[in-house]
């Protein structure tokens, strides 16, 4: 992925408008969700933070070397902007606790086993699980995440996904296989040590 990220950044630095669109459409939604979870689900605050994040990252694009994935690199800017947001507003940043920032993520994922439970606590756990799955999708290459959603949530056929990506059916099958592997690996890491032992 790093070479693709580097190429995307190089194209942006050269002024390629298509690269900017690819960059924005690929990473803005994930960054927004990343920020939203860290500013108490306040959409106005998330918008402010992400706008500042993108402007800061764009100003430093020439320093991107591809050692980390582009989304990870952007998240470092976002964390900084979240901290700046809390400093400006005088709110207590420490009050925002996120499961993925905690090595003990198992508790939240227990909601998978309790999916049939009712009540506010079970609902909250299910929401948290959904958020983690969405977080994981945001961390995948944008094409992988889109392919998985189209295939398993929207129910598109391989041919329909291939048409959206302008790829052959064979290439799309191959990409779906890689996307599933990446998702499986990411989820396994996320749930390592889970009390439920849930594995995919």
């Amino acid at each position: 992925m790093s070479s693709l990220d580097r190429e995307l950044v190089q194209r942006m630095l050269s002024g390629d408008d298509r690269a900017f669109t690819e960059f924005f459409d690929g990473y803005f939604p994930g960054l927004f969700r990343f920020a939203l979870a860290r500013v108490g689900r306040n959409e106005d605050a998330a918008e402010e933070v992400v706008q500042a994040t993108l402007c800061a990252a764009i100003a430093k694009l020439q320093t991107f070397r591809g050692e980390a994935a582009l989304f990870t690199w952007l998240c470092t800017f976002c964390r900084h902007e979240v901290s700046a947001f809390y400093r400006r507003t005088g709110r207590n940043h420490a009050a925002v606790a996120l499961v993925e920032d905690d090595p003990e993520v198992a508790a939240a994922l227990e909601s998978l086993a309790a999916a049939s439970d009712s009540g506010p606590e079970a609902a909250m756990r299910r929401d948290e699980t959904a958020r983690l799955v969405h977080l994981l999708l945001d961390r995948l290459p944008p094409r992988y995440a889109a392919a998985l959603e189209w295939k398993y949530i929207e129910g598109l056929s391989v041919a329909e996904i291939a048409a959206r990506f302008d790829l052959t059916a064979k290439a799309t099958e191959s990409m779906l296989t890689r996307a599933r592997e990446a998702f499986r690996e990411g989820f396994s890491i996320l749930t390592r040590g889970s009390a439920t032992g849930e594995r995919i």
Binding site: F20, R33, E47, Q51, V133, Y152, F183, I200
Partner: protein
Amino acid sequence: MTDHDPIEALLKATGRRPAVPADRTDRVRDAARAEWKRQLAAGSRRRRVRWTVSLAAAAVVVFGVGLGMRSLRPSVAQGLSGIHVERVTNAAWARHGSLPLFRSKSPLRVGSVISWDSEITTGDDARVALRAPTGHSVRLDTGTTLRVVSDSVFALERGAIYVDFHHRSALRETSIQIVTPMGTIEDAGTQFEARLNAGSLSIEVREGSVTLLAPAERSVAHAGQTLRIDPSGRIVRTEDAGAGGGWTWAEAIAPMFEIDGRSLLEFLDWMTRERGVRLEFLDTGLAEKASTIVLKGSIAGMTLDQATTSVLSTCGVMHRREPGVLVVGTERQGPPSR
């Protein structure tokens, strides 16, 4: 997949990722794009200042460093690019290197390999033909500056570029992008010219189609069409591509076909493509035989007209030019009459 597939079950249970409201997306996109444009403009200014400073600094240190600098001078053969120089007329140069003191220009020669991030400049009387690893022929007219971003992305800063992508000669099928201040041009297996002139961009399509991705809109131009984009971004489409003789300069710098061991049909195919004309056989016998006639020798250094006359007369083939057509026939039939 079935519901027993845990990935499918998990994704179905959690649903799509929540979308960001469109109004928020639009606001942030506008702000980010404005910052991106500002950074691009600032980068361009920084490059100009760096170059000026480097000239002044070089004047100061040149005696101290002396000829030892030569060993440190970057060569156009450095880098990982697969872009080769196929033909050069008169003096053309490539600049490479990000450190001002070590950023120097090297003359382009046939066979030179262009590094990524090199800037190619042609003088008032120079033209260059490059070959990208994608199979594209990329030609620069006089007074052109082109930056090589990668093997398939080029930034046109001034002047004109001509792109020719011939499916049958391509090593692999992929498009290339020409980035300009007015938008990005993407080819779709084609021949076209893009020219910057006084803040405007014109794209004349000779064959196939190209897509222009401008900040305000996306436009597709097909063979015979011209897109003109003025400094305000307004796009005008006309049906007059090539009317002003726009291809002539690109034909003059066309890399010569290496005929030795190739068939007459291949030569005619190349010739008619370079000329943008259709091939017509006067007799079916020649049409069938053309692929079996093997050529010998070389046409290096000839013009397209000279090469046509030389090769065809050697093969006992007569020819004549009609508007949009090259007509060929066997010599025993006598010269084709008009």
